[in-house]
Amino acid sequence: MAEGILVVGEVAEGKLSPTTSELLGAARKLGAGAVSCALFGPDAAGLAQSAAAAGADKVYVVDDTALADYTTDGYAQALAKVIEQASPAAVLLGQTDVGRDLAPAIGARLGVGVAMDAIELSWQNGGLQITRPAYGGNARAVNGFKSTPAVATVRPKSQEALEPDASRQAEVISVAGAIDAAQIRTKVVNKTKAAAEGIRLEDAEVVIAGGRGLGGPENFAGVEELAKLLGGAVGVTRAVADMGWRPVSEQVGLTGKVVSPTLYIAIAVSGASQHMAGCSGSKNIIAINKDPDANIFKSARFGIVGDFKQVLPPLIEAVKKIKAEG
């Protein structure tokens, strides 16, 4: 009998990723029985206690050299083995590089339904039900599952992690012989990291976003200055990244980064739903746009209808003054 929730954990810089803790917190909150966590790769065993502290009752560890790099075939094999042993009613993954790729692979392998990018989770009549944005954020879809286990990815920062409890204990189960390396048909030959300066966009409490209305890459100087002043990161719309004005790694939106800072200042951003899908979780959106009908104003708390060229320099000065006053 399938029971409980299995969270697919991820490792970030040698630690349990924040998204994994959020998923474990969400899984406990569902109240659908025991919560397990699957951990893959060479760092996995050392993180079992972190997973326990974040809410896992059982930790399944698949430590295999074939899992050092993420590959769809390798991780799908490992996850299928864990699912076979744990027999969960639902499997939760993060809507991350790994979860995006792995969830549909496991869905096809097991012949079960998969829903992506859930922002709300609930347990209805003994099964998982999720709410997810669709149509570029214009709509919300509520999905249920006919098959077991239900497989869903969950948007980072949409759920709350529990306060870590170091006294919690979990049963650690080592899953042996899971990986047949001959069945891994893709090979990672090279990884290129985007040059990242300053604070990570996804973690920033302040994001200053620039849109196509800035007119060219040279006009991002003010955006950068304001970001620096407020200890924030620069974000851009897809149009800006597609035109090569700024690196793709700064793109916020449906196919870019999803951010939820305390303060999101959108400058010359029209607010296309594709972009809003990436920033609508921000606590306070501020819009500066010369078009009073721009969609961004519908989501904004404060706004200025005006040309950024005239508004941004005095705004930077005013912020500097406030900062100087302390």
Partner: protein, 266 residues
């Protein structure tokens, strides 16, 4: 080399959000009046990726495959005008409105029937449901390797893909046959010339039903789905924007800075 590109016809996504409407009772989006449906944007980029392979290897055959209502023929024709050679339309009411898995099963059956396919290209996600899973599921059902979210696709015996990651990209090699899903970082899809559009009108589009694919009604469409759509609605925004007053941009900017301070945001 034979490449199949899967394309989906969707309501035009490039409309103002204010003209977006949902029929909650039917759990469907109301197509905007007078706006023709289009090829899902990432699928057009998948066609572009196929054409770039064909640019280098002119003996490559590109088949455009779609599952949809009769109007989806226009999406196929667009792919043919971009340079595709042949089209296949799965036009069967029983296959519509399925979840990604049921759709992937139907498309995989069509790819098997087409036969001799070396690579399948799909958009990274359709711009209606934004799931981003059908390509990977097709690979799983066919038993092929898959590489997702490509910004470049190069074929040379095997396929080499630059795959977009949140903090950069990785280069991945896969043996063929394989499925690759394509992202906007690949670049803009080529724009068909008038002559190509006229030529596309003469290219052949085969039309198949579920029965042609040896699938019965229980395996396809809603009946074959494992996911249920329990509700579809439009979120309501509760925010009311407070616009900054001021006779000059300086005054407006100063007022904004003050508001941000009062709200303890800076």
């Amino acid at each position: 080399m034979h490449i199949v590109v899967c394309v989906k016809q969707v309501p035009d996504w490039d409309i103002p959000p204010s003209s977006f409407k949902v029929d909650e009772a039917a759990k469907k989006v109301v197509p905007p009046q007078g706006v023709a449906p289009v090829v899902s944007q990432f699928d057009a980029i998948a066609v572009e990726a196929a054409m770039r392979v064909k640019d280098v290897k002119p003996d490559t055959k590109v088949t455009i495959l779609s599952l949809g209502p009769a109007s989806a023929r226009d999406a196929i024709k667009h792919g043919l005008a971009m340079g595709g050679d042949e089209g296949v339309l799965i036009d069967d009411a029983s296959t519509l409105d399925g979840d990604s898995l049921a759709t992937a099963k139907t498309l995989a059956a069509a790819i098997n029937k087409i036969g001799g396919v070396d690579m399948v290209l799909c958009g990274r996600q359709a711009v209606d449901w934004d799931m981003g899973v059908t390509g990977t599921m097709i690979a799983g059902i066919l038993g092929w390797p898959v590489v997702t979210i490509a910004k470049s696709v190069t074929v040379n015996g095997s396929v080499t893909v630059e795959r977009v990651l949140s903090d950069g990209y990785e280069t991945v090699e896969a043996s063929l046959p394989a499925v690759v899903t394509v992202s906007n970082e690949l670049g803009e899809p080529r724009y068909p010339k008038l002559q190509q559009i006229m030529m596309a009108a003469r290219k052949q589009v085969q039309v198949w039903t579920a029965a042609d694919l040896s699938l019965d009604g229980a395996q396809v469409g809603q009946a074959g789905s494992q996911l249920t759509l329990d509700r579809l609605y439009q979120p309501v925004s509760e925010t009311q924007v407070e616009l900054m007053e001021g006779d000059t941009p300086e005054e407006q900017a100063q007022n904004l800075a003050r508001k941000l301070r009062e709200a303890k945001l800076i």
